[in-house]
Symmetry: C2
Subunit: 353 residues, 2 copies
């Protein structure tokens, strides 16, 4: 976040990442996480904040802790293998912490890919993985290509509809061998709820229509869209169709819950996710492939900018630049958000299920 | 196509599918296809027309034959296995007919999925597969889930750019166990070139902006967009990013050509494609999964229609309805298109490569 985008500077403070991580760790330990799990989980929330994905970092941390305190996320649960067909395995998430289950499944998909060229883990009954791009980066850094997605509770009307019946089911694709690795992390709504919340917090207008206002008109006002709950599928019928098919394919593979089933629970827990890793380098021609990829990226970057003057961007590079800034200047945190995190205290953990 | 959408009825004739198939077969035989390959290939062009995807059926046939006559597509070429890593195989398409290579690779991916749960074929140096949804339907009918995509020659500017540096790289996802099977087949542009051409032919305005006119303004006029070559990525930066990543992942897996490389050739041939099949039923819980899928689809269909009154649709169902109509009334073919097909005659096949 640039200083300008931070708005009234008095509302934001810059904190070194170490301080965020220490605070996250302290609270997760109090909330029932083992030292190892608290360290890994606090690291993910810190990394996401460092990359500028506050909505799945510091801004989301309080809600994550509350979901543990309310019994929807079980801090000590481990995923379990249900069935295997070789390079495709089905796992049960046991309602464990989404990011920890997702790291486990990404590693497991890579292990299968090392053996079979491709590995697929279908995971049911898990929880929100926070920032899907994290797992793409993780795989790409290890030399694997990656594709993964998650369903969510219904938070987007289908194209042509008024009421939310689809999740905005994020899709992640990562390709290694380029520097920095290219990682696409896209929700099926034109704007993720995280992006809408950030725009609302910063009182910034959206660049393009992101949903409907209370009068049913397309709108660029994030707050109005959050209020109407009518987010717009990216590409109208295209994002709508893709969200539906990703949900159904996730169910088909994981035997877990669909968006409809999750929505009928009333609270978002027990999600279905798919993790695909590809180990292409075993097939050879690696130098030629690397060259073709670099040529393709160079060609793309030579695009002539339209009148907006913004030019083109490679998915994932903004996070890379933001990280450099945050490492030197600290992570901007809204004072209210930080105050609420500092005030999080141990509550009795109860199961709602 | 409804009678109303056919516009001036004198421009269209209704032909039984058998007549299309017979004519396609005759011409393909003259163009160097073996009887078996001519039968399969003419069947694909007929099926696509029956489903209403004229742009990759009857309306595309002449161009397909010309690409064979010009030596870009080799009628007798067979795909060859280059390397294997178990459940992931790399094949070389030898510049054979795209639809025949694609059918082969879909079958091969299913064979691997039967053995490993998942199968992935990465195919380089192939040609346009026509309608990607065909392969999704094929897999779903056989009980497999499917994901596949192809790159294309550059035909879409990236978000923020003026010049075409991206393909509109279609993505196909199919899920079995539902009736009819759900098949999503989406180009990364808001409208495929096929859809733009159909709108132009029928002089119909697009439902939403599909690109830019000559003044650089967003436009709903298909003809203006075809002329400016500035199609709009579906979901702006989202379709743009997805098109880029699908291209790069295809290259990474197939060791084939990127959109940039294909574009530098000046003519679209030698594409890169990926075929993923999933055989989930080996993992069990099939009855429970089928029930969850049906519930999810029912829930989606209960969406409350917005003020357009159009309601929601399941991807693939329009094709199903169109097919029923075409089976009884015949396939509507533009007279000029049919005349041009009837006039196709054997030309000397020469290689441009």
């Amino acid at each position: 976040m640039s200083d300008a985008a931070m708005g009234s500077s008095s509302m934001f403070i810059r904190l070194p990442w170490q301080e965020l991580k220490r605070e996250f760790f302290r609270i997760l330990r109090q909330t029932g996480f083992t030292p190892k799990k608290a360290a890994l989980c606090s690291s993910i929330f810190t990394e996401n904040s460092l990359d500028g994905v506050y909505s799945h970092g510091v801004n989301r941390f309080k809600r994550f802790v509350e979901s543990v305190q309310n019994g929807y996320v079980r801090p000590d649960a481990e995923p379990e293998k249900i069935a295997t067909a070789g390079a495709l395995e089905r796992w049960h998430g046991n309602w464990g912490p989404g990011p920890l289950n997702a790291i486990f499944c990404t590693n497991r998909a890579m292990a299968l890919a090392l053996k079979y060229g491709i590995g697929c883990i279908a995971l049911g009954h898990t929880n929100h993985w926070m920032r899907g791009g994290y797992y793409g980066h993780m795989a790409a850094k290890a030399g694997y290509a990656f594709m993964g997605w998650s369903n969510t509770i219904a938070n987007m009307p289908a194209w042509g509809a008024l009421d939310c019946r689809l999740g905005n089911n994020p899709l992640v694709i990562a390709v290694p061998q380029t520097a920095p690795p290219l990682v696409l992390d896209m929700a099926m709504s034109q704007y993720s709820y995280g992006a809408l919340e950030r725009h609302a917090l910063e009182t910034r207008r959206l660049a393009v229509a992101g949903g409907y206002d209370k009068n049913g008109e397309l709108s660029r006002d994030a707050e109005e869209i959050i209020a109407s709950k009518r987010t717009l599928p990216a590409g109208y019928w295209k994002g709508s169709g893709l969200a539906l098919l990703l949900d159904l394919l996730g169910v088909f593979l994981s035997a877990g819950s669909s968006t409809a089933k999750i929505t009928h629970q009333g609270v978002e827990y027990g999600l279905s996710q798919v993790f695909l890793a590809f180990h292409g380098s075993g097939l050879g021609e690696n130098a030629a492939i690397k060259e073709t990829l670099e040529q393709a990226i160079n060609d793309y970057m030579q695009s002539q900018s339209d009148s907006s003057g913004q030019g083109v961007r490679l998915p994932g590079t903004r996070a890379f630049e933001t990280r450099q800034e945050h490492l030197s200047k600290g992570i901007p945190v809204h004072q209210t958000v930080w105050h609420e995190i500092k005030s999080l205290s141990m509550k009795k953990i109860r199961s709602k299920r």
